[in-house]
Symmetry: C2
Subunit: 257 residues, 2 copies
């Protein structure tokens, strides 16, 4: 079950290495990620059609000029429901195609797949990971990164959990009732995939009695970092990658707040 | 609320910088952490009496030989209950004392505080952080790190969450009933602070119907990494820093498993 035995990252050995890039500040990339990105000859990354791609932007200025780039453009993102047969079929074919293409390339070359945050926490790469692992004919390695939510809770300047606090991490795509149910059994909250789900997330927070302590954080750890009390902002257009946070208030020896 | 305006980390300006060191592999430290640790003139870290200290061990070989070291030794760890007045008083005085000492030093010098994982996720530093912030007379900055749990889920070689999975992060110090209640409203689970709480965590997992899919991970990302199915190991002595994991099984387009 371990991905340890392979050690692709110590050399330019052929294979696929997915590199977690962290929350946005290039200095928060790991030493290992930084080394792999700077040395890469082949770089693949996901992006929405017509966009530069968050992961690709994060490594601006780090890539070698002669590196070959492979933009893996989602055939669809939030235009159709994620549980519709059409969505599932489109995405499934997309991952199948890129799995094949990366596997062919990775027989001879080392391919670095760029992923913002941590690849194993709600990352798109895992759909390629399972397919590549199933094939079993190419080296495969994943480098952890600082999750985006960690950059966001640091942006608020407050610890996310204290003592025995339970942290609940959920996606804004859940139904309002599900959100309420999950929020009620957690002390600290992280809601990812916000975007147009914000009105529903807000209603759920009100029902769970947590709106007053909720924060909306965008671009945590970057120059464009934005931290606001959710109760003080409206439901106008909000980026998909924004995060809603509620800090835990657990046990602490005579805390100053 | 932001800790951005200060920019202690760009120079050797006086102040306290707490550096998240990540899960254990020194290569998984951020570029920023690596730079600060290698350049440090004053280094403080928590440890249990008579132990080298996990954070200090992690930077072995990186520190300058002339760096001054400050071992902040807990007056007590798990010997008395965390909710007893004696524990609270001992810990509170301990944090007060070190806050004073670091604040005095940080008026003239830059002090790097080493913390394993991410300092704002169940880290001891936050007790110093609130106190130093309350004083308001020394520069203060925190550098995020890859949380220990991230290193542990990578050790299993499986993504922790898929699709709309809810991730519940809790501590093994909760009562059995509380553990069950929190486990039942999460899809993916992380239980931290395992140690002698393992038998209770195991009983809770059985009641929540999750024992068969639970993993026990020790020293994720290090050379001593150990990954076992919890159902296949006994309740014998288990380190406090071990982590119990259950992976989510959410939506994925035609996954290979």
């Amino acid at each position: 079950m371990s991905n340890k035995p392979q050690n692709l990252a110590q050399s330019a050995a052929p294979g696929v290495i997915c590199v977690g890039l962290g929350p946005g500040d290039p200095e928060l990339m790991s030493v290992k990620a930084d080394r792999l990105v700077r040395g890469a000859r082949h770089v693949a990354f996901f992006r929405k059609k017509g966009r530069p791609g968050k992961a690709r932007q994060l490594v601006d200025g780090l890539l070698r000029s002669e590196a070959s780039e492979y933009a893996m453009e989602y055939p669809v993102t939030t235009e159709i429901p994620v549980d519709s047969p059409e969505y599932v079929q489109l995405l499934s074919r997309f991952y199948d195609d890129w799995c094949l293409r990366l596997a062919e390339l990775a027989k001879q070359e080392q391919v670095i797949v760029l992923c913002e945050g941590d690849p194993f926490l709600y990352g798109s790469f895992m759909h390629l990971y399972t397919r590549l692992r199933e094939r079993g004919d190419v080296g495969l390695q994943v480098v952890p990164g600082i999750p985006g939510m960690v950059g966001c809770w640091h942006a608020t300047g407050q610890p996310i959990t204290w003592g025995d606090d339970v942290l609940g991490v959920m996606t804004g795509t859940l139904s309002e009732d599900e959100l309420v149910r999950r929020m009620e059994t957690a002390d600290a909250l992280v809601v990812m995939k916000v975007g147009r789900n914000l009105p529903r997330i807000r209603r759920a927070l009100v029902r769970a009695g947590r709106l007053e302590s909720a924060w909306l954080v965008q671009n945590g750890s970057t120059a464009n970092e934005q931290v606001e009390r959710l109760a003080e902002v409206g439901d106008e257009v909000c980026p998909y990658f924004a995060i809603v946070l509620v800090h835990g208030q657990g046990r602490r020896p005579e805390a100053a707040w």
